[in-house]
């Protein structure tokens, strides 16, 4: 595409982002500030994830983009199209075929493999932001692993609801050291973060932070000994492919309010049904 560098960002910006990524990978779960650039879409639409993808994308890569698990929603289509135009790299909807997967708020059901990179779009990188309004204080808390307040939050949930009711963006501890927001993925997906063979990168464009989990990092969801973490899932099977082990979206299919549950991960569902898009 005329007048634009490969994958839109200039090379100096890519280097800046890659340096941030290296630091992030060196300290799993620790937030690294970066000079987030103006992108051709507003904050809140995945600018962090796009900048990460742009910084690491090469001509040989195969890119998959999903939004809430689906390849065919507006955002996923736009972002995929963006990289097709600015980089000309191959794209796919098949998880197994992708070398880079950019995702908003889900991890694919198909287990990731060594050599793959998954890029998460993160709205709020700071897991403590509701508990501690001051960013300076929160930074100190991370520096000395003073995470009592976060456990207090879970304690309160158990007190109020009998269990931890957080169903997405459930806080985790990376590498037994840093408290981290896994981005608003459902709690159901948290176990997939743990010891993943893939490199996991997290980008928040508006908040200007990058963090990462190198392959095979221990990631543990916060819990109590007598209230262990359990991934939540609707008690149903996918109406289309019959899967009982995937995360389901609840869809209202008519004006009478008829509900059906369908796999959130479209590629997974299609593969199970033997279809390709």
């Amino acid at each position: 595409m005329e007048g634009y560098n490969f994958a839109y960002l200039d090379e100096q910006t890519k280097r800046m982002i890659r340096r941030a990524i290296l630091k992030a990978v060196a300290i799993p779960g620790h937030q690294i500030p970066f000079a987030s650039r103006e992108m051709p879409l507003p904050y809140g639409w995945g600018t962090g994830g796009i900048q990460l993808t742009a910084a690491i994308l090469g001509p040989e890569d195969v890119l998959k983009v999903i939004d809430q698990g689906a390849d065919d929603t507006t955002n996923a289509v736009s972002i995929r199209g963006f990289f097709e135009r600015t980089a000309g790299t191959a794209t796919t909807t098949r998880t197994q075929e992708a070398s880079i997967i950019q995702t908003r708020h889900r991890i694919p059901e198909t287990p990731l493999q060594a050599g793959q990179i998954i890029v998460y779009q993160v709205p709020m990188p700071e897991p403590l932001y509701r508990l501690e309004p001051s960013r300076a204080v929160a930074a100190r808390m991370h520096a000395i692993a003073d995470y009592g307040a976060m456990h207090v939050k879970l304690y309160e949930e158990i007190t109020r609801f009998g269990r931890v009711a957080l169903s997405y963006d459930y806080p985790v501890v990376a590498n037994e050291r840093y408290l981290m927001s896994p981005s608003p993925i459902p709690a159901f997906d948290n176990p997939k973060l743990d010891m993943s063979p893939a490199l996991q990168l997290f980008g928040a464009g508006r908040e200007k932070r990058i963090y990462a989990l190198p392959p095979y990092t221990r990631v543990r969801s916060l819990d109590f000994e007598d209230h262990p973490f359990h991934p939540g899932r609707a008690d149903a099977v996918c109406a289309l492919c019959g899967a009982a082990d995937s995360y389901l979206d609840e869809i209202i299919s008519d004006d009478q309010g008829t509900k059906m549950f369908v796999c959130s991960d479209t590629d997974y569902c299609d593969t199970r049904r033997g279809e390709t898009r």
Partner: protein
């Protein structure tokens, strides 16, 4: 024997000598009151002793079990760990120290959780026990402190501070701002707990009656300096320094 020691502390704010060469020491299980009027430097001294502020000159030493060592040699992480569990700090305004939108139980449990407690049931039981110890109905474990009275909030702060079994507690006017009748109850509670738990404490107060009630030893501060120190009843009944005599004679007889 000596648990905490300050040597020649100096601290200046603009042109004001808040601490002008202050030295003192505290033994295990000993209660020391720092009295003086506002502006005497007593709160500054407390904050420096507790590691919440640093002195411009001089040093604070603490014995963690292996002899006195300077606080400045501890990294921030070690200091915070100390402050989180083995030390306690009771502030004058409990609203500053508590999280008002977290339940009483959550407030008490926070220091436990920060120190690694991970069993919900145990945390809850401990919190309920401490509510009883500070004379709050344990049925209020799940209530929000925003509906508590001033006295109850202060008692909650005391529980939330003592729950980790600290060996040294700093108190900054623990009953300031409370009604007189409420004060008496809180002082009594503090007195009982401190004795029962064998705590060492440094207590800042402008109220001589509080010092007399709670403290073994007293230091009198004026303009950043200690003008008199000794056994509490001796300093208050037989004051030597002019300022101490003024302070003691200013108390309205009951």
């Amino acid at each position: 024997m000596t648990l905490l020691q300050a040597q020649n502390l100096h601290k200046r704010f603009a042109n004001l000598e808040a601490l002008d060469g202050v030295s003192l020491s505290l033994r295990r299980h000993e209660i020391l009151a720092i009295v003086g009027e506002s502006g005497s430097g007593k709160s500054t001294l407390l904050n420096v002793l507790a590691g919440r502020a640093s002195a411009d000159e001089g040093e604070v030493y603490y014995d963690r079990g292996t002899g006195l060592a300077p606080l400045s040699a501890l990294g921030e992480l070690e200091l915070r760990r100390l402050q989180r569990a083995r030390w306690g700090f009771i502030q004058q305004d409990p609203r500053q120290a508590l999280r008002l939108s977290i339940t009483a139980g959550g407030n008490i449990g926070e220091r436990l959780m920060a120190s690694g407690a991970r069993h919900y049931g145990d945390i809850r039981r401990t919190a309920a026990h401490w509510l009883e110890a500070v004379e709050i109905d344990p049925a209020r474990l799940d209530d929000l402190p925003r509906h508590f009275s001033g006295g109850m909030l202060q008692r909650l702060q005391i529980a939330a501070t003592l729950v980790t079994g600290p060996e040294l507690v700093f108190m900054d006017e623990p009953t300031g701002g409370l009604d007189v009748s409420v004060q008496a109850r809180i002082l009594d509670l503090i007195r009982g707990l401190v004795r029962r738990l064998g705590l060492a404490a440094v207590l800042v107060t402008h109220d001589i009656g509080v010092a007399r009630l709670l403290a073994d030893r007293i230091v009198v501060m004026r303009r950043g300096r200690i003008v008199e120190s000794g056994l509490t009843d001796q300093v208050l009944d037989d004051p030597h320094h002019e300022y101490t005599q003024l302070l003691v004679s200013s108390v309205l007889p009951t």
